[in-house]
Structures are given as structure tokens and as C-alpha cells.
Amino acid sequence: MGLIVAVVVLLATIVGSLAVGARYIPPADVLRALVDAVEGRGSGEIHEIVVGLRLPRAFVGAVVGASLGVAGALIQALTRNTLADPGILGVNAGAGFLVTVGIGWFGVGDIQGYVWFSFAGAAAATLLVFVIGNTGPSGATPVRLTLVGVALGALLSGISSMISLLNPTVFDGMRFWGAGTLTSRDEHVLWAVLPFILIGLVLAATVAAPLNAIALGEDLARSLGAGVLRTRITVIVAVTLLAGAATAAAGPIGFVGLMVPHVVRWFVGPDQKWILVYTAVCAPILLLGADVVGRVVVPPQEMQVGIVTAFIGAPVLVYLARRRKITGL
């Protein structure tokens, strides 16, 4: 089945991400370094690169990719807007804003600090968007949530930009965090956010069926027992956990959460269960694949993953949009 193919490709991508990099290392040496690492010994340049740099990077790429993909699929199901990406509810803007505040007022300088401010900011922004969006005649309708998210997100990111421009310490700190990268010298960061990602994935799994019901229409959904408000809240919590944690670990990475759910939906149809599963497997393929390409395409430099992702993904997106009989949301 298609899913098996996708999983195989994902595994191949992970292997590729361990074997390929800016520094050419023969496959035999890569294997030996991995074996040595498992047995608890090993040192030297090769070991440092394969186990110290590439292994965490592959892990982060896979986990962050899956998070962003699933968050994107959920957001598109919730807002029914083609342009929706996980950041649309203000996740990235909130994260960036609080990181800016953290660097500027609290003197945060290291990755550990960034993580918690980022996460807190993402959660606070999404909560605020929901609170504001849930008022009004029809409550948290997709359109209203989208607009509130865009408005608040813009406001927060504008203020972050302003602080950055006025304070060079912040500008410098944001330069790295704001780039979105899978390289992190401290894998404790990923372990710290992993629980939140796992919870988010579990929530996503529980909400697939109700989302299918809601897609048929709100009244029909209620009669089928899928609580509309409860589902919306669950989706928002899941998106915040997934996108917030991913952004906290790797900085803001765009496009993956936007593109992969669309493409997956064109192949597997409107059933949210399949969309979520396939997205969780295919999004890491895109992200890790882009990361690998970025390492070898402009030696001796590396192209950052955020740049390569769109560079590879977008033509594929456009090609598919032309070829297939595509469906809107």
C-alpha cells in the first residue's frame, strides 16, 4: 500500500541524512561510527560529525517534520482556508514575540531559554486568538479564527520586528533563532519538547473522526455526536502543542505545514484519518530531504533548511496542482 512505500522512503531519507553531509564520509566509516556509538565508545572527528551532528539532526528533522505536517493538516481542516498553515493562529508570531522579549528584557542567551519562552509565547498567542475568536454571533467559526489569528499574528510579529530593530542584542539573537534550523548543539532541547509533541499527536489521532463529521456540516456533525466546540478546542490545543514545540526546538520553519497536507489530500482523499497518517510520514521526508540537499548543494557552505524546503517543495506543489484534478478545502 501507499503507506508502506512512504515509510520506506522516510527510512531511506533518514539513512541518507546520516550518510550525506558537507564533509564527505565513506559509508563504511558512517556505519562504524554508528556501531561504535551503540557500543558506547568512539571519538574523533568522524564520530563527532556522525553521532554528534548528524544523528541529532536526523532525529530533530523527523520529529519536527511530523509535528509541523500534522499541525498543518489540522489547521487546514479547522479553518477550511487554503492559505492556512500552522502559524496562522499566531503560533510563530507569539513564539517570536516572547523570544524577543526574553532576549531584550530577561537577557536570555542560550537555546534552553529560547525554548521555554518560545513555547509560552506560542501557547499564549493561540489562547488569545481563541478567546477573541470565540466571541461574536457564531463563535469560533473558521473565518473568524483565521482573521483574528492573522490580525494578532501580524501585530505581534510587527512588535517583534520593532524591538529587533531598536535593540541589536535582540537582532543578533533573533538572527539565529529566526532562521529555522535543524542544527542544535543541545539535544536536551528536543527531549524537553518531545512529550508535548507526543501529546499533540495523540490528540490529533482522537480528533480525526469528529473532523470528518464536521466536514459534512455542523448540524449533521452534532447529530452524529461530534461536539463541534469540543473538537475545535482539541484541534487548537493540538496545533499549539505541535507547532509550538516544533518552533521551540527548531525555530520557525514554514511551508512544510502548508504544502504537505494539500498534496496528501489530493492523493488520499478527504478522510482525515488517512490525511493525518500520511502527512505524519511524508512531511519528515520533505523536511529531512531538504536538509540533506542543503548540505551538499553549495559546498563548503550549507543552505538552511527553511530555504531549501520551499525550493524543492514548491515546484512539486505547482506541478501537482496542474496535473491532478485537485480539490479545494
Partner: protein, 330 residues
Amino acid sequence: MPRVAPLRPRLAVPLTVALLLVGLTACSAEPADTAAADAADTRTVETAYGEVEVPTEPLRVVAVSYDTPWQLAAVGVTPVAMQDYSAYAESFTADQQELIADTDTVGAFFDLNIEAVMAAEPDLIVGDVLEIDEATFDELSKIAPTAIFEGEYRGDWRVIGASIADAVGNADAFDSAEAAYDEELARVQEEYADVIERPWAAIGDGDVEGGFSVLYPGGSVGALFFDDLGATLAPSIPEEEDGDKGWMYISPELTTTVLSGAEIIVTGANPAGELSASLAGTLTTPLFTELPASASGQVYGVWSSVTDYGTALEWLESVEQTVLIPASAS
């Protein structure tokens, strides 16, 4: 029949705010008169935008480009206004910081506030072509004589500095500063010839955590170490590929490959000797600490923001103290 949202409150806010602002400004103070044009002695200088009549002895000089204030200070002229450097104060020396704290500002890098220039009541405006294009030059000329210069390449402080010194009538001060620098340079090169012959590498900030960039001869910092001082470039450093900007990012994976051939590694630092946070981090990565230069303790941070012969002399002194003397000992 659909209920339509009430209009009055929504328009009221912007209207009220706007009217308040109008009220406030209508009751504000009289502006100062512009300084009357002085019929003092003038001379003609050749600038990037043609010939300009400048006062022979300018009293109020405004610096409108990034490096100009130090180039003026180096030849004994204190500008009355300059760009706003307050946000970056830590990257300047103590003397420069004193000057920054005392002076009025006229906008920021690439964002000149022309009204502030006029408010400073200059009798001469000085800058370089990087930031001041011809249209801006025309507007500035309406305020005071404006002398804008260009060098052989961007940031060419030697040529631009000489032109500025000439424009304010202090060409002699410039020449003697240049001579002093050349003399010191010759002495240093002779005294530390063996250190200079060892393979060096100059690195700067990278674009990812744990990464770095290599600085090449011809770049603003590279020119100091490799062209002026004459340090030997380590053979393991790859050829410059990205045009001639003078630096290139390197992937962290290539740390050993690129830097293992260097016995001495220098980086940029602020005047207090502190490295940027990202560079400090790079220096502690496992791959970096295993480099020969790092293992033997020959990684040095040197402040290198040279804009004129005065700061060049300071740089030379700090290189001698921070790098050459310790390196000779080991």
C-alpha cells in the same frame, strides 16, 4: 433583515485620535531660525558629485555616513552631529563611545533624517557614496555645502579618509597619521616575523549555531591581517568562491577540514575582548576544541573595526599585545 454593526464608535476612535493630535501640534513652539549663510572664506574640493565650495575653516561639521565621524576625529575635527550608534555602543572603543554620548544624531545607517541634519545647523556636511546617492546629495546641498566621497572599493577608508581630511583642511594630520601607522607596521613585521610566517586563519560569525565564516584577504578585516600585517593564510582554507565579498560561511561539519592547517586563529571581538555569543559558542564545540590551534591555546579575539589611521594604530597595538607577544612565547 440583517443587523448592521454600529458605525459611530468605530470611526470615532481614529477621528478623535487625529483631532487630538492636530490640537496638540497647533499649540506648539516657534521653530528656531536657520543659521544665516556665512560669507566666510571658501575653497573648492573635488567630490564624487562634482566640485563643491566648502568653508576654509568649518566650525560645525555634520557626519552623515557610518564611518565618517571617526575619520573626522582622526584629523582633529569633532562633528556636531552623526548617525545614531547608541544601540551598538558596546562595539566601539571608549573614546568613540564618549563622542557618541555627547553628539546629536541625524538618523541611522541608510536611514538619514534630513530634518535633523538641518536642525544641527551645519556649515559643512560630509559623507561617502555608499549611503548618500545623488538625490539625497541634492537635498542636503540645500542645507549646507555637502562633500561626498568615494574610494576604489566600498569601505575604502584610506582614500575616503584622505579626501575628508582634505575637505576639512587637515590633510597634514592625515598624512602624519598614515606615516605613523606605516612606521609601526614595519617595526611589528620585523620583530614578529616568525609568528607572522606561521599559518593563520581569521574567522567570523557563522550562519548556524556551531558554524563560522572564514575571512579572506581583501575583506575589511582580512585586509588588516593578511594584506597589511602580512600573515600567511593557512593552506587548508578553501578558495574564495562567492565573488569577492571577503568572507564565506563554512558548514560546521567542515571545521576540522578547513581549520586544522592553522596554527593561529584570530576572530573579531568587541573592545573589551569579548566574542559574540555565537562565536563563543562555536569555540566550545567538540570539533573546534580538537583543532591544533585550539588545543595549543592559540585562538585570539581582536577588536578590528578600523575606519581610519587612528583606529588602525590602535588595532596594531592590540594585535601585538593580544596575539603576537603570546604567540612568540609558545
